[in-house]
Amino acid sequence: MLSSQIKLNEIEFGSCNKDLLEEVIFYGMGLGADFVEIFIENTDNASVLAEEDFITSVSPSFGKGAGIRIFKDKRDGFVSTNDLTKQGLMRSVSQAIEMLDISDKNNRELFNGLNKHKDYSLSKKKWINEVPSIHEISEKLLASTKSLKKNSKIITRKGSYSRNLQEVIIASSDGTYVSDIRLHQTVGLNVIASDAQYRSSGSRRFGSSGMPHEFRLWDHEKAANDVFESSMNMLYADYVDAGQMPVVLANKFGGVIFHEACGHLLETTQIERGTTPFENKLNEKIAHESVTAIDEGISEGSFGSLSVDDEGMEPEKSVLIKDGILKKFISDRAGELRTGHKRTGSGRRQNYSFAAASRMRNTYIAKGEHSKEDLINSISDGLYCKSMGGGSVGATGQFNFAVEEGYLIKNGKLTNPVKGATLIGEAKEVMPKISMCGNDLELAPGFCGSISGSVNVTVGQPHIKVDSITVGGR
């Protein structure tokens, strides 16, 4: 008796919650909402840190919560709570209705009940038992930090792992009723090298989604060699001279510039704010004809891939720019409502405490026909950015990115390593200057922080040449 009462009155993962969800949605529609969406989440996360030759931190964490979003006309009210009882969910609906000042209409007739449950999690329930144990993770992280111990100049060695397992239920008044389980694993290596007054650092991050065994397959020796070499190459590097110059950006994480400087400007949230220069440029040329750019959520195992977005829509492959022509914006439900751009399965959020927003998934510049050498050979005096650090884009579209590992290009050849370089520009001005794309497209995982929190993404590109950009230095 007690058990059935609990089932009726509180969300239970792995059970049928249809009646309860319908009741909550009917309640919201009855109070006059145009649209009600319920996002419920259950997380089981763990992170492990290895420093030098010891495990110094093991941090499991659990969470449960719901985010309830009510639309009225083009406005929305969002309430998040840890209370997953029927009473708690209804209280949140009431709060959202009250915030929106809705009092005049009953919209129950707009809700015809939830569709048949679409369960994307069926084959994924076993994942939690297939991911590596803390013991297994610790062993591999310690092996990786040991691999970084290559000479006395390496003064700190770190390996970190994190696993996020997120179970979600999404239901809304358009009938959407889906469940899914998402698994993301990431591992990173960091070193600091030092010799007298010289210091350098090196870091790399790897990640996958939906592949419980992927960490076991990670080649930590190769990763350690890569990080070590990078830090050694940069240890005695001189500071770069500032100025305007042509640059070649490496593949993989080099794509972070396109992601930050252009990708964000193609999200409908930017149209809503009036902060994108591309708002009225659909089907117009915004980039060099050598540039085709894609955002998709469907590449198997990629860090930004999804079976279903956080609004219950399956992700699509969106060609954003085709041969330099702007073709599409990245859109979510609010974006479609407020800007008219159709949803692309890109409604994403960090967790239940954020309302979904239009966000990138796996975003990359498509491969071209040139070799990396073709690009470098075409420059007499410039910069090769082998590894990019973080960056930011201002409200007016100006971007700024740190170059972690850079080399001067002289007469078509790579020469001395240089540090302290920063790439500065504006997407509108730089996109037409991407004149050559390599044939070596590769992707890299990352985390993107924006309006709906931090989400897993992939950035990527082949090697690309930018004819001229401002390089900050000393």
Partner: protein, 450 residues
């Protein structure tokens, strides 16, 4: 459950799992926020959150930890159980204990707790503020980033040794970032943030005025020539730099090998002798002040740089034990306890005779670059190497005129910067991250587009 009941619940659950030693930190909050778009409500948000972090010590005195948002009886038991499992992987080389100060008296101040004004009032106030800003100048076309919020929260620390501390607070925040556009010119954007104990404490008019001034004054910009310049840091930008390199004062960073300092750096000269820096989390102007840290250690004022010399490091319980000193009230609560500063206060020391007092940002007529605000800190600072390369909003002062700088970065080395401070102005200004006067530095590299 209230915090006392949660403590009892944890104690009973720990007993049932035979766990003798534990502590926990918890946060319970209710937040409300609004955003508007040209006079219309855009998104209205409310959230109720609870986060509980529990540490347990196993029979080998190794620590395990778990964080959960489930504070039901079963949630607490699960967290304790998982923390106990995690303790098998506890760090044998750097053990953690309860803070020896976790039961010391804490400084009780008037928390100036306010009552909620509610979403409708928040919306009305933000709408009015946005409209005023939009109407203040024809070039201001939108206020794309705006928000008004109020938060009410309780923080708790307790342990199995009988320590129990809690406090409740309220806080409100307003931000207005305007975007201005003029024909044949690039758009410019800038803004202002104001904090208060409650919405009624926020000076909305000054937020509007500051956002207006910062945005409009930058409309007539020019590129700057790449070169080395005499620099004047605004209080806000200097605090940004000090916070970005606070690993110099951080014992955790020193032990991790990511600080420019080492265990023997106390007493070493770090800057011009005219500089004093304190960390003062309890400062009356610090709206976000907390009377204790994540380990229950009382917060206190601590001198970091005294007449240019490194005076103290900030500590957690474990770093303090390793350095043979006492915790300073700067710890977080985690599997590996983090250490961070609270509220930096910068001032001129008594040893200031070498300063060039003619350098005053409001009267000096020579050429210099005024750095109003530094951006992209997470990308442009290499704290472990001491270098920075940061975009900024600012001005070139030349021949008695000031010209907004179009887009530029300032690059340098923190050790060089601190040792080449040529003036510390007398007036200290309160910002959202601390207190500082204007600081002048000789010769830093600026990269511009000219």
């Amino acid at each position: 459950m209230n915090s006392k009941e949660i403590t009892t619940q944890i104690s009973e659950a720990a007993d049932s799992l035979n766990l003798k030693k534990w502590d926990y930190g918890a946060s319970f909050s209710n937040d409300y926020s609004v955003q508007v778009d040209k006079g219309e409500a855009k998104q209205l948000k409310a959230s109720q959150k609870q986060i509980l972090t529990i540490r347990v010590w196993n029979e080998s005195n190794l620590v395990g930890i778990t964080t959960t948002s489930d504070i039901s009886e079963s949630g607490i038991k699960k967290a304790l159980y998982q923390a106990n499992i995690a303790s098998d992987f506890g760090n044998k080389n750097e053990r953690t204990e309860f803070s020896p100060l976790a039961k010391d008296p804490i400084e009780v101040k008037d928390t100036k707790e306010r009552n909620p004004v509610g979403i409708k009032k928040l919306l009305t106030l933000l709408r009015e503020a946005e409209v005023k800003l939009l109407e203040s100048h024809e070039s201001i076309k939108s206020v794309p980033y705006n928000g008004l919020s109020e938060s009410f929260y309780e923080r708790v620390y307790a342990n199995s040794d009988g320590a129990f501390r809690s406090y409740t607070k309220s806080q409100a925040a307003l931000y207005l970032y305007a975007r201005a556009e003029e024909k044949n010119k690039k758009p410019r954007s800038s803004g202002s943030v104001k904090l208060g104990y409650g919405v009624e404490d926020i000076d909305i008019e000054s937020c509007i005025k500051e956002a207006f001034n910062k945005t409009i004054s930058h409309l007539n910009y020019s590129p700057i020539k790449t070169d080395k310049y005499l620099i004047c840091f605004s209080p806000e930008s200097f605090l940004t730099i000090i916070n970005a390199f606070s690993s110099m004062f951080n014992a955790r960073s020193i032990l991790d090998g990511v600080s420019l300092s080492n265990k023997n750096s106390i007493g070493k000269k770090l800057s011009t002798e005219a500089l004093n820096i304190y960390d003062d989390g309890l400062h009356e102007k610090n709206i976000s002040s907390s009377p204790f840290d994540g380990e229950g250690t009382p917060t206190k004022r601590l001198c970091l740089i005294n007449k240019g010399r490194l005076e103290n490091f900030i500590h957690s319980e474990s770093t303090a034990r390793i350095f043979k000193t006492i915790p300073t009230g700067h710890a977080g609560l985690g599997s590996k306890v983090s250490v961070s500063p609270d509220w930096i206060v910068v001032e001129k020391s008594e040893e200031n005779s070498a300063l060039k007092t003619s350098l005053d940002h409001s009267t000096y007529e020579g050429e210099f670059v005024y750095i109003e605000e530094l951006n992209a800190i997470h990308a442009g600072v290499k704290a472990s190497q001491g270098s920075f390369s940061l975009p900024f909003d600012g001005w070139l002062y030349k021949n008695g005129k000031k010209i907004s700088i179009e887009s530029a970065t300032v690059a340098g080395d923190i050790k060089y910067l601190l040792k080449n401070i040529v003036n510390i102005e007398s007036n200290q200004e309160v910002t959202t991250s601390g207190i500082s006067p204007h600081i002048w530095v000789d010769e830093l590299s600026i990269t511009g587009d000219a």
